[in-house]
């Protein structure tokens, strides 16, 4: 089935009321009243970016729950020094699969494929992604990769046990025999191609399908971040995929690329892996930077402070991220310490610009502490903790001291838990747009406080125990009361995080059992996705507003508000809170 899609030919007129979305009389060209298959057939055959985005989002959240369950078992094992809840090998498998599921199957796909799939075409005024069938293929490869990775639990010998980074020679056929490691490699190949296709689609959509007047420097920051993420994906993921092919050849075809015995270089794997792995950190982070950059101005009732600064900070982070890969390899003694240390420290500058811009946006604003805003503030605070401790690790002498200790685990988890807070900021912000229903603010705020406090209770003891020298990836540890106490606190934090996730599930069930209609724009937000109905019709728009700034929907809904020019940030009169917000406050 093919739809010939036309853009609307007339503009919605500011000050003349909201357009009647979904009304067939307003359809211009394309079949906005879509009568395609339903049920399972819709799920299997849809090429609509919104359906695919929801598929990605739901699947990745399921992966988060699975990966989170692994984490809870790990933390239960570490509650006492010589616990026997799991064997050493099972512990190795658990931390490998926890990291792999969370990094490869949750954080990245949720952001650059889930919400981005749903939102980028809407934010640029496009009817769909540029390559809808390639987009659907990306999802099926991602789902296949997820199943392939989890299949490791059902084969003899169990799943991979060499850590999510798969260092050589731990991954050799001798050190890691069995089907589990091969399934891990296969899963990463499938999800890697899925990511590459998503990157191609994001870039093509943003370059070719923007609405008239939507110049690059009028795009929402989330879309900007997704463009840069797409570029990073294309630079980084092919390197990992090539490395995986080499690894598979080492294991099965007698090559010795990463094996010393045949003249290979194990350290080459680390170069290849981290050439993907450090940009990957920003492939994971940039989408969430984008999400909170949409949330904070909306709930500060102000334009974003420093729009162009944000864009250039994003581009700078992306550029620098390709030159820092070996800061993960300082203790190998075989990398250029000054080069990688300088490049790593430089990343703090654009990241700092972003943090100051978020604070500058809130400064003097009329703050509305919705769940999305709380999650966004929680993101900024937690990311700041993770970022500052990352600066320590960029310094070789400090890195030598803390390498492979729980300090590194704590730093990394401050960062990824910040991303999780950012993810929930995005979910609470866009859930009304995606479903047409509001999430309950009371449940949401309870979830936020449990998640935010739980994150700090989880990570702060790990920083301390790491500085005391506790090594990572150990199922047991010396019988030291101080270490045990700190580990107990960390496990309590992990439990709080787990319970907070359950509150979210309850909130979603509640939203469907007792739905409260969201309306088209419940937050009085300013970007283009809020101009169409909730949920949007097939091919998204029946009409478009004139686009004269990076806040076209604000301009449309508030024609008497001061015009927004770059670098000119006037605080407009805060609008009355929509009725839906009142109902949920």
């Amino acid at each position: 089935m093919t739809d010939l899609i036309e853009r609307p030919s007339t503009e919605a007129v500011p000050g003349h009321g909201a357009p009647t979305h979904g009304d067939d009389d307003h359809a211009h060209g394309g079949d906005h009243e879509h009568h395609g298959p339903s049920g399972i057939l819709k799920w299997l055959t849809s090429t609509d970016h919104k359906v695919i985005g929801i598929n990605y989002t739901v699947t990745s959240i399921v992966m988060m729950v699975i990966g989170g369950a692994f984490a809870e078992v790990i933390r239960a094992q570490l509650v006492s020094p010589t616990n026997t809840l799991v064997t050493f090998q099972q512990y190795n498998q658990l931390f490998t699969m926890h990291g792999s599921v969370m990094i490869y199957l949750f954080v990245g796909p949720f952001a650059f494929a889930g919400l981005a799939n749903y939102l980028v075409p809407l934010q640029v005024g496009a009817p769909d992604m540029a390559f809808p069938r390639l987009n659907a293929l990306s999802y099926w490869l991602y789902l296949s990769g997820s199943i392939t990775m989890l299949l490791g639990f059902f084969v003899t010998g169990g799943p991979a046990a060499f850590g999510w980074v798969g260092y050589a020679p731990l991954t050799s056929a001798i050190n890691a025999p069995g089907a589990g490691p091969d399934l891990w490699i296969g899963a990463l190949m499938l999800t890697g191609f899925s990511a590459i296709f998503s990157g191609v689609n994001l870039i093509a959509t943003i370059f070719y399908l923007r609405a008239p007047g939507m110049t690059l420097f009028r795009m929402p920051i989330f879309t900007w971040n997704m463009l840069v993420t797409g570029i990073l994906i294309l630079l980084a993921f092919p390197v990992l995929t090539a490395g995986l092919v080499m690894l598979y050849c080492d294991r099965h075809f007698g090559t010795h690329i990463f094996e010393v015995q045949g003249g290979g270089v194990p350290l080459l794997w680390q170069h290849i892996f981290w050439f993907w792995g450090h940009p990957e950190v920003y492939i994971l982070a940039l989408p969430f930077f984008g999400m909170v950059t949409e949330v904070i101005p909306t709930f500060s009732r102000k334009p974003l402070f420093g729009y162009k600064g944000m864009v250039f900070a994003t581009l700078t982070i992306a550029a620098l991220s390709l030159g820092v890969w070996a800061h993960h390899m300082f203790t190998t003694g075989a990398v250029l310490l000054p080069f990688f240390s300088i490049m790593s420290l430089l990343i703090a500058v654009p990241t700092g610009i972003k943090i100051f811009n978020w604070i500058g946006t809130m400064w003097g604003g009329n703050l509305v502490f919705s769940t999305a805003m709380l999650m966004a503030i929680g993101f900024v605070v937690t990311f700041l903790i993770g970022g500052i401790t990352g600066i320590y690790l960029a310094s070789p002498p400090l890195d030598f001291f803390t390498h492979d200790t729980y300090f590194v685990i704590a730093h990394f988890h401050s960062v990824v838990m910040a991303l999780t807070l950012g993810a929930f900021a995005g979910i609470y912000f866009w859930f009304p747009k995606i479903t047409g229903k509001m999430l309950h603010e009371g449940w949401g705020k309870a979830q936020f406080w449990l998640l935010f406090i739980g994150t700090q209770v989880f990570t702060v003891p790990l920083y301390i125990v790491g500085l005391h020298g506790m090594p990572r990836r150990m199922a047991v540890y010396p019988n030291n009361p101080s270490w045990q106490n700190l580990n107990e606190w960390s496990s309590v934090g992990a439990l709080m995080i787990g319970i907070s996730t359950l509150l979210f599930v309850v909130n979603v069930i509640q939203a469907y059992r007792k739905p409260i209609p969201a309306g088209d724009n419940p937050w009085d937000a300013s970007t283009l996705e809020w101009f169409t109905s909730s949920p949007p019709p097939h091919h998204n728009f029946v009409s478009l507003p004139p686009i004269r700034s990076e806040r076209p929907v604000w301009d449309y809904n508030h024609p008497d508000a001061p015009a927004l020019a770059h670098g000119h940030h006037e605080t407009a009169t805060p609008p009355a809170a929509p009725a839906e917000q009142e109902a949920h406050a």
Binding site: N135, G213, L322, W325, L336
Partner: protein
Amino acid sequence: MKQESVILLLLGVFFGFIGVVYWGWGHEDGGGIMLLGAFLLGMLPGFYYLWWYRKSGGNRPEDRDDATVADGAGVVDAFPSTSIWPFVLGSGCFFIVLALTFGTWLLVPGVGLLLSALIGATAESRRGGNV
């Protein structure tokens, strides 16, 4: 399209610069080659877009500050609303990857699904529809 090309070219120039510094300083081939690849991945599409911008001789409505909705009116493209072939192709890839672990016999359904998807998607494209 000019701004898009400038962004890609600047990224390419940066990767080229740090590639030269890195390789000249550390003489480490693996990282040097990967930075060379990054340099090319910035420059090649960057120059293509620049060439394309100059050849097309002007700004598109989405590149103009003053463009109106009417300027961009008309057919965007033909978009497939539904297609089973991505699912079939993904399933084929799934079986091929499983064949790497569980045995080459899985290549039979894998390659079969892959070929049928390629033929089906191609036939679907001939009837009209984006990739």
